[in-house]
């Protein structure tokens, strides 16, 4: 069966780089994307929506935070029909999830996606991801307190959706 060369190229570059250099290529990939969507003025959500997709946000407010739920993972189509990420790349995802300012990642592309938010320098706090394929949810438990939200609230908001982050209103 024919393979999608673009997906395979992305997969190969990410896995190859991660296997050689750990998390750095994912973070730098995020920084590069952030630079490409940086435009003068404009709300951070308008900038992020350029890669997250139009009309893909559900936004609620509580206290000093806006909670943004992505209805669909903008990278979901990449995950279909690619080889397994491999032990080293998934070990890195586990390591990222244990980090004080990490957590909530399911795949290496989540690390790139979170790298974009971090590079925006807008205080975006990633809270969790849900796999569209398996329904598996990974919550960034160490970030919950900082974002004034509970795990149960995150699980409730992300159910049937893809991703959630918080940003100061």
């Amino acid at each position: 069966m024919a393979k999608n060369p673009v997906k395979y190229a992305l997969w190969g570059m990410l896995v190859g780089n991660i296997e050689s250099m750990g998390i750095l290529p994912a973070l730098q990939g995020g920084e590069a994307i952030a630079r490409s969507i940086e435009t003068e003025g404009g709300d951070v959500l308008e900038k992020l929506a350029q890669i997250d997709g139009e009309n893909n946000y559900e936004i609620s407010e509580k206290g000093e935070f806006r909670y943004v739920v992505l209805k669909h993972c903008p990278f979901a189509s990449v995950y279909k029909d690619i080889p397994a990420w491999g032990e080293k790349a998934m070990k890195l995802v586990d390591a990222y999830n244990k980090k004080e300012d990490g957590g909530g990642a399911l795949h290496p592309i989540c690390l790139v996606h979170k790298g974009v938010r971090k590079a925006m320098n807008a205080g975006v706090i990633s809270l969790g991801c849900r796999s569209e394929g398996t329904g598996k949810i990974e919550v960034a438990e160490k970030a919950l307190k900082k974002a004034a939200i509970t795990k149960e609230e995150v699980l409730g908001m992300i159910e049937g959706k893809a991703c959630i982050f918080a940003i100061k209103a």
Binding site: S20, M21, G22, L24, L27, K91, A95
Partner: protein
């Protein structure tokens, strides 16, 4: 009372820092790129140091393997403002040290080697 592992690691880093004044910062980093313990200047981002150390270590290991240089023991980068040294500290971690340009390399290498051995035992 016995010190916790984290306290022991921090103590080793502090000792390295104080015995060699030209050392500006040091960190113990897991092979995954997570910080285990650190004593870094305020203007240096811990995350960047750990990610870059793991990246350098990964590339160095691959290079050493491909070029048949054996297991990697140490990395040394010299810039015009100082040096950056990565030393294996046991099989699970590395010791990253930054020193200023005036640092006497012989002393730095010796102290870092001793500290890495202590860290390997403590980890």
């Amino acid at each position: 009372m016995a010190l916790s592992r984290e306290e022991v690691l921090n103590q080793i880093l502090k000792r390295l820092h104080s015995s060699t004044p030209d050392v500006e910062g040091a960190a113990v980093i897991s092979m995954d790129g997570l910080v285990i313990a650190s004593s870094l200047p305020a203007d240096i981002e811990e995350d960047k140091v750990s990610a870059m150390s793991a990246a350098l270590y990964g590339i160095g290991s691959r290079t050493a393997e491909e070029l048949k240089r054996g297991d990697i023991e140490q990395f040394y980068i010299k810039g015009n403002n100082g040096i950056f040294l990565i030393t294996q500290a046991g099989s699970d971690a590395m010791l990253t040290v930054m020193a200023n340009v005036k640092a006497k390399l012989g002393i730095i290498f010796l102290d870092v080697k001793r500290s890495a051995e202590e860290l390997a035992k403590a980890i």
